[in-house]
């Protein structure tokens, strides 16, 4: 039975590509509905992490509960739930979408539809959401709303007359958007007297209250004191606080079907509030959980070492704290002959990896060395054993390997037609298998390729951007494993293997990568007292070689009028630099050398 309360609720999300103006639009909606006064508005209120604000990208907005007085005299509660606009977080997007009945599809009037927008729109259609296209930034001189409308019809198959023209920055079209939300998006269904089923679409860790789950109540109700059960684990907790987002968390009496809010239950760990899980009432449990819960395994792995080996414990504490808020981050102790003790970390994707690494450096003030990212390979040994391996260091001996398989991704690239040649060439170079091409409108094209994930994580985004002058966008979806001629490439410095530099590479790419790595190492390892050979090997075969010549000269000039102190300072500075290097055998390798092989450039 649907209550009047429920009929005045609208739950919606915003789907947008990075930079298409999602955060600004959210700000305007909040401002317009008067949750906050203009004075209280800090630009882009909902970007919660400094890092996001600084990069100008939004991984995820905080949810917000808006109260909107419509022209018909009714008061509506509008719950804005955000979707991350990045391929790393596709699963989270799908969970956010499950919490809504409708979505604003924000498209930049100067850019058109991007790959990620398309992917998320398809997801929204799969979830039967009502879509409201919003063509944003129409105030810009380069805006082409008609072109975008054409794309909306051709690509998305949505009637473009439904699109709202807007400029979030200038406050144009905001009323129309609010009216469209109320009139077009259906109210939430669900019986508030049925057994509780609440979907967790996000969570974070609060130092005082423990893990906080962001929920959409589908059926039933929840209040302080309710004994809840997590349906994926069966764990039971007592609710200590229930609240809504205004947009800061504000406690309330309870949440009922159709409502969006948060619950706290002295939960020690965010891994107990997994996104996608269903919360039910322990005393009156639902029979079935809500559909779609998955544990998402990490796709990209990299080892992280403290620059200063005495900071190992600090790194561990930092990772533990990050994990409290981010159940998708995994890590376990790792150690390297070259780099000492560190952690093997698993990430959802490259952006996720970048963010974690940057937060370690910025928020925890740690200097870290990271190894080249790796995907998870499937290895079948000659004895029939099947292994999933992400760390090249642990790879079995080639003679024990029957077959190797690598993950393949269905990839969609959207770009202006002028760059099609360049990007097809890039995809070919990256072992892509061409699947199709479609014109989105007169100028823009969608390319479909099957690309090995191993190639995508190796500088692919940068190459894509540089070869399309920043215009191409990529989305991918993991398809499965495929047998592949892979090989382990080792790097020897002064005859000694540097485990942290080993990578898995396709046989056809081995020579090229080997040469680039050797060259980049040669440039970043300073000349030392003896000649240092740098060799790249496959098994015992050397496939690339460079030499760092022996240091020829290292002298200080005269000391002027007895200024011994200055001389000493110069020597101390030099010595300090020496100390900061990693010793592999007799060779001192600076941090930059480890990092430089990660970014070898496109060409």
């Amino acid at each position: 039975m649907i209550t009047e309360r429920q009929k005045n609720i609208r739950n919606f999300c915003i789907i947008a590509h990075i930079d298409h103006g999602k955060s600004t639009l959210a700000d305007r909606l909040i401002e317009k509905t008067g949750v906050l006064t203009e004075r209280e508005m800090q630009d882009q209120v909902l970007d919660s992490m400094d890092l996001e604000r600084e990069r100008g990208i939004t991984i995820k907005l905080q949810p917000a509960r808006l109260v909107y007085n419509a022209d018909n005299g009714q008061e509506y509660v509008l719950n804005l739930i955000d979707t991350p606009g990045h391929v790393d977080f596709t699963y989270e997007v799908s969970r956010s979408l499950s919490a809504c009945e409708g979505a604003l599809l924000v498209i930049d009037a100067t850019q058109g539809i991007e790959a990620q927008t398309l992917a998320n729109t398809y997801l929204a259609m799969d979830h039967d959401l009502t879509l409201i296209p919003v063509i944003n930034k129409i105030d810009l001189p380069s805006a082409q709303p008609d072109m975008v409308k054409e794309e909306i019809e051709n690509v998305l198959g949505i009637d473009s007359s439904e699109a709202v023209l807007a400029s979030a920055k200038e406050g144009i079209g905001i009323d129309e958007i609010l009216q469209a939300i109320v009139s077009r998006i259906p109210y939430p269904e669900g019986d508030e007297d049925a057994p509780l089923r609440a979907l967790i679409f996000d969570s974070y860790y609060d130092n005082y209250k423990g893990a906080i789950a962001f929920v959409r109540v589908k059926e039933g109700s929840i209040k302080v004191g309710t004994m809840i059960k997590m349906m994926s684990t069966g764990k039971v907790f007592e609710i200590t606080e229930v609240g809504v987002f205004r947009p800061k968390p504000v406690p309330c009496d309870g949440l009922k079907s159709g409502d969006v809010g948060y619950v706290a239950a002295s939960i020690k760990n965010v891994s107990d509030t997994r996104v996608g899980d269903t919360i039910t009432d322990e005393e009156n449990p639902a029979v079935h959980p809500l559909p779609g819960f998955k544990r998402i395994p990490p796709m990209v792995f990299s080892s992280v070492y403290p620059y200063d080996s005495s900071k190992y414990e600090d790194l561990k504490v930092a990772l533990e704290k990050l994990q409290l808020n981010d159940a998708s981050l995994s890590f376990e102790p790792d150690n390297s002959i070259a780099l000492g003790f560190g952690f093997r970390c698993g990430f959802l994707g490259l952006l996720h990896m970048d963010i974690i690494q940057e937060r370690l450096e910025r928020e925890y003030d740690l200097e870290i060395i990271t190894t080249a990212p790796s995907v998870v390979y499937r290895i079948t040994k000659t004895n029939g054993e099947v292994l999933y391996m992400d760390n090249p260091t642990n790879f079995p001996n080639p003679t024990e390997i029957e077959q190797m398989e690598e993950p393949i991704a269905d990839s969609t690239i959207m770009l202006p037609k002028d760059y099609v040649g360049a990007i097809m060439e890039l995809c070919q170079e990256r072992r892509g298998v061409y699947k199709g091409m479609q014109y989105l409108d007169e100028n823009r094209v969608m390319l479909e390729y099957e690309l090995p994930l191993n190639e995508i994580i190796y500088d692919f985004f940068d190459a894509l951007k540089s070869r399309s002058r920043g215009y191409a966008s990529l989305d991918y979806d993991l398809k499965g494993y495929q047998q592949s001629a892979l090989t382990k490439l080792d790097i020897l410095v002064n005859g000694q293997a540097v485990d942290a530099l080993s990578i898995i590479v396709h046989k056809d790419k081995a020579y090229d990568r080997a040469r680039k790595i050797a060259k980049s190492l040669k440039e970043s390892i300073p000349r030392q007292l003896f000649e240092i050979p740098i060799q790249a090997t496959i098994g015992s075969k050397i496939i690339a070689r460079e030499t760092v010549k022996a240091l020829r000269k290292d002298v200080l000039a005269k000391c002027y009028g007895g200024d011994v102190t200055r001389k000493k300072k110069l020597l101390e500075k030099q010595k300090e630099g020496k100390k900061r290097m990693r010793k592999v055998g007799e060779v001192e390798i600076p941090q930059e050398a480890f990092m430089s092989v990660l970014k070898l450039g496109d060409e």
């Binding site: 003896f530 000269k553 102190t565 000493k568």
Partner: protein, 374 residues
């Protein structure tokens, strides 16, 4: 116990050279009289010190007039009761000396001249921003001899922009012909905050590569040695008995007093640095304040470091016994591992109870010095 070295800094130049990051200023000659007064006042604070060597450096001390020279040097002689037979050096730049000044220097007790020739190639001198030509150097040198200076050093620089190996050999040979008692050869370094640094960054300086630089150096060593100069310090060469005693004080890590703007002292276990800007230096001293702006106590550990990196600049190196005598412990106990490593790398030798740099060690001396630092 040996006496102290006395260094007097004259921070004035007719023109600042393009590579120079010394504490020296052009167009401030009007300060000289006041400056001399301040230096003498600062000197008075050390009046009972026992001085073994005096070195008046710069800048360009010979930018002072004969009268100014006389006033400064007689003032110093009065303050310190300078003994006969001490080494008393004045730096001089070609083009700033005349008969009157030479004779004044000589009569004020100066018995050693150090002339900044830098190069005998007029094209390169111009590039360095020097005010003199090779001809002017030769004149100055001959005048100094004529005036009675029988102990002269010539400063040379190598690895200059556009300098070829042949250019350098030519300069060294031209100097050898003059038969100075002492020659210094320093490789050009591009220092921060100099016009050369900016030019270097803009790619305007074509410097010889490292290999050529080393060849230049070792060739100078060979030419000078075959002409009877002993290679006694990394960059210094002297006829028998003509080593610079003042600089030996630095290299042996002994004590010295520095007077003047930006001068450094190592005195009673502390290293001091004076205010660099002449106006501020003069002000401070005249007001009766200390011109010292930096003071560092040199503890035993620091003293050892300095002892190594200064002492190893001498080609005969440091005496194992001397070290033990000074610090009360054998360097083998304290630095055995480092010494072993350096021996194995062929950077030092140990013989006759002394440790000294090998030729390879000379080229890579920083690597050796760093071994002895924390």
């Amino acid at each position: 116990m040996m006496g102290l070295g006395l260094y007097v800094h004259i921070p004035f130049c007719a023109r600042k050279c393009l590579y120079c990051d010394f504490n020296s200023y052009q167009s401030k000659e009007y300060l000289i009289d006041g400056y001399i007064g301040a230096v003498l006042k600062e000197a008075y604070g050390y009046r009972n010190a026992d001085i073994d060597t005096v070195f008046m450096g710069g800048g360009t001390p010979t930018l002072m007039s004969a009268g100014q020279i006389s006033r400064l040097l007689s003032g110093l002689a009065d303050t310190f009761d300078l003994k006969k037979g001490i080494e008393f050096t004045a730096e001089a730049n070609p083009g700033t000396l005349d008969e009157e000044k030479l004779s004044m220097l000589l009569h004020s007790g100066v018995n050693r001249l150090s002339i900044g020739a830098q190069s005998m190639d007029d094209r390169l001198l111009k590039k360095l921003g020097r005010i003199h030509s090779s001809g002017v150097f030769t004149e100055t040198f001959e005048e100094a001899r004529h005036a009675g200076f029988d102990n002269i050093n010539v400063d040379l620089m190598f690895a200059l922009p556009d300098q070829t190996y042949g250019d350098w050999v030519d300069t060294v040979n031209k100097i050898v012909v003059q038969k100075p008692e002492h020659v210094s050869c320093y490789g050009l370094t591009i220092e921060d905050n100099t016009p050369y640094r900016k030019m270097y960054e803009r790619g305007e300086l074509r410097l010889p590569d490292e290999d050529t630089e080393r060849e230049m150096y070792w060739n100078a060593v060979s030419i000078l040695e075959s002409n009877g100069y002993a290679h006694y310090e990394i960059s210094n060469f002297a006829k028998k008995g003509r080593e610079c005693r003042h600089n030996l004080i630095y290299w042996r890590d002994d004590s010295y007093i520095g007077l003047g703007a930006g001068a450094h002292s190592y005195y009673k276990g502390y290293r001091y640095a004076n205010e660099q800007v002449p106006e501020r230096y003069i002000d401070a001293v005249c007001k009766g304040d200390s011109p010292v702006v930096q003071r560092e106590y040199i503890d035993r550990r620091n003293e050892m470091e300095e002892y190594f990196f200064m002492g190893l600049r001498l080609m005969k190196g440091i005496g194992i016994d001397d070290f033990e005598h000074r610090f009360g412990e054998s360097p083998y106990n304290l630095y055995g591992k480092s010494m072993d490593r350096l021996l194995k790398l062929g950077l030092v030798n140990i013989a006759d109870n002394r440790m000294y740099l090998t030729e390879k060690g000379v080229d890579l001396s920083n690597q050796v010095f760093m071994e002895f630092m924390d």
